[in-house]
């Protein structure tokens, strides 16, 4: 009788420990030696003293597009830091910065960013790259926005036709941009044609695709997800659709627990010419066109 209970308990303990063992050395030599040879022998350029963890608060677009999957291992290998990427909307990422919960931010809402810098929560804000927003929608284009001369005109047509528009509604960079555009079009988006998904870009695209609605998206995420979507690009290239990414450190003087060295290392890494080259070539092989355009060192007019 006791046996049953003992067996069950042992199973649970074993189960907890068994998961534990391999985790202890996540990046140690793999028996094949193949992977490790590419990772292991390169010693960190400068082993960081003190806190090894860097918390990066960033937008879903950088993660969902796969860019971070390329950049983060590169950074970790170069510097020896471990990056904890928390991919959330730009609004939340900035809020994390304002509370000192992150060490470094990679976001795309210039106006909101400036406020954070002015408040003293962030320092060392640097231009990294841009891509552009596009308006996508069903091929049939019920509101006939294709060929519009400006984004404002396209938005006005959508509102007039009361054609379904799916908004992120999550205070992300994309969402902020979208609201700016509605404001410029002098339309208060409201009504059954305007739906807020409250999710990330990927999900929002899926919803727009399923429901046959329009949405504003960054090009990178759209290209990465294109294969599953029945959405086409209906408007692009308008100046107002520029999507600019900045990187910035959370101010260690304001928040003593912030990893200052790690944050600075990441900012330096993002604007490093070598990294900028990686950004430039990212996605070319897969999508035939780059997803991001490196901007480091250019005058920051945003």
């Amino acid at each position: 009788m006791k046996k049953c209970l003992v067996i069950a308990l042992c199973a649970l303990v074993a189960f907890a420990l068994f998961g534990c063992a391999p985790k202890a050395q996540p990046q140690s030599k793999s028996p094949t030696g193949q992977e490790s040879s590419s990772k292991e022998p390169v010693p960190p350029v400068s082993a960081p003293a003190g806190n090894k963890d860097v918390i990066l608060a960033t937008t879903t677009s950088t993660q969902d597009s796969g860019l971070l999957d390329v950049l983060i291992p590169l950074f970790e290998q170069k510097t020896g830091y471990r990056v904890k990427t928390v991919a959330v909307g730009t609004g939340q990422a900035l809020a994390m910065g304002e509370r000192g919960e992150a060490d470094v931010l990679l976001v795309h809402a210039p106006e909101a960013e400036k406020k954070v810098v002015e408040s003293g929560a962030a320092i060392n804000r640097r231009l990294v790259m841009h891509n552009d927003f596009i308006i996508v929608g069903p091929k049939e284009d019920p509101a006939k926005i294709k060929g519009s001369r400006s984004t404002v005109e396209a938005f006005q047509k959508i509102a007039q036709a009361r054609a379904l528009f799916v908004s992120r509604g999550d205070d992300s960079g994309t969402n902020k941009k979208e609201l700016e555009l509605w404001k410029a079009a002098q339309i208060e988006p409201k009504g059954s044609w305007y739906q807020e998904s409250g999710t990330g870009m990927g999900q929002t695209l899926n919803i727009a695709s399923e429901k046959g609605g329009y949405t504003l998206t960054d090009r990178a995420t759209y290209l990465a997800l294109k294969k599953n979507l029945s959405l086409v690009i209906l408007l692009e290239g308008d100046k107002s659709l520029l999507n600019v990414y900045h990187v910035m450190q959370v101010n260690p003087e304001k928040f003593p627990r912030v990893n200052a060295a790690g944050g600075k290392a990441f900012v330096d890494f993002m604007v490093d010419p070598e990294t900028q080259k990686v950004i430039e070539s990212f996605g070319k092989d897969k999508f035939g066109e780059p997803l991001f355009f490196p901007d480091a060192g250019k005058p920051d007019i945003y």
Binding site: M1, A11, V13, A16, E35, D64, G66, A87, G200, Q203
Partner: protein, 232 residues
Amino acid sequence: MDLVVQGLVKAFRLLLSGDPEVLEITLLTLRVSGLATLISLCLGVPLGLYLAVARFRGRELVVGAVNTGMGLPPTVVGLWVSILLWRSGPLGMLGLMYTPTAIVIAQAVIAVPVVTGLTMAAVQQLSPKLRLQVLALGASPLQFWWIIIREVRFGILAAVMAGLGSVISEVGASMAVGGNVRGYTRVLTTAIVLEVSKGNFDIALALGFVLMVLTYSITYILTIVQQRRRRW
């Protein structure tokens, strides 16, 4: 339909090839949820036993809280634990945010009321006279609790199953306090969410398949142990 077939094929390939990342995510999931369940067992069983037997002022309030807690939304737990563990929070100096430990804590918070409530219910199903009988047999307090635990062992087993089931399939808290950091705090559920938002439905399906196989086998083993004795 295509997607389902594709997903299953991919799942099989991922499992057979022993993809290191999938393996790592799976092991982390097991470790984190197993540990959280173990903790909830250590806290929930004594608490459940105590609440079932004790008579004190305000007991109804506590029992009510436990019963409410059995249905705690993981995202809410995630938020609370985040507030505690944030750098600006009361436990910020421990630096636990976005670590597997943080997930263990949040999941334990989710599982403790489940284990407590089910243990309490199991004890309360015993005849109240049985407690007198055990004392009358000459049991010391320690022996008394040991016998009571033995009497409700299957109820406790059910509590463990329910606790493990509730945390291993939970996503809100893991996402909030773990942050879904690749190779560090990414568990099966958060990985599924990510793959869905990346549009990799096939990988998401594969991971979902792994998760279901996992929960099924755990539950199956526990069920076997439980059923082996109920032969009549």
